[in-house]
Symmetry: C2
């Protein structure tokens, strides 16, 4: 798998998992909706400004995103390590916003509880069954 | 959800995700087969002694295990934080071993590449749609 194939693989997944490190140094995992946008080495997610992960990423931007596919025959997974930036600026919020988002953020794109997570990929570990390989971004 | 209900929920999941912290302080996520055994506050997994996560857990035992269910109507997820112990002692390896494991570990229960991950639950965060609650073990 090269970088392009990794990004193709993740663009087809419906669920993403993101990892953060909490104040006590424990790794924390959460399922997320699929990325809103993938552009170059950057992956964008939407989330609630008030959520715990925002506090964690503000204090420690070391992060991971994980995607997997468990087919009938083979298992594929990719864990990308990188840095997570919390974006609360209006241009980024406007760029990522979609009409249906009012279901989650009633005040629209300026809702203070709506923010964007911007993940910069550094390196990935791709697993396919018992084999694995490292891909640098 | 109480502790008992959390353990019931995870016992029905087919995939587990485990989190570790690598040498550079990044959270690392991997999908795993469902736990082999859940007993009290302890969750057992099998894995390859040579895998990267074994090195990570030996150096830093802070860990998490994550389980989720994305139903038609609601999403449920639980992230349990705790400590991961790498067990290479024969009594633990014998206790966890199952016949079919020779598919992965050709030398049987004494295969040096077969080991057991023993996770001790400390605290869990349970998510159901947009609500969440903390459960202590």
């Amino acid at each position: 798998m090269n970088k392009h194939e990794i990004l193709q693989f993740i663009s087809k997944r419906k669920t993403a998992f993101i990892g953060s490190v909490n104040e006590q140094g424990f790794p924390v995992i959460r399922a997320m909706l699929a990325p809103r946008k993938i552009e170059g080495n950057t992956i964008y997610f939407t989330t609630n400004t008030s959520s715990k992960k925002i506090k964690q990423f503000t204090e420690n931007n070391k992060a991971s995103v994980y995607f997997y596919r468990r087919g009938l025959i083979k298992y594929q997974g990719v864990c990308i390590l990188g840095e997570m930036e919390v974006c609360t600026d209006q241009p980024t919020k406007d760029m990522i916003w979609r009409k249906g988002d009012t279901m989650y953020y009633k005040l629209g794109p300026t809702d203070p509880d709506y923010c964007v997570l911007k993940f910069s990929c550094k390196t990935a570990q791709y697993y396919c069954d018992l084999k694995h390989e490292t891909i640098d971004f």
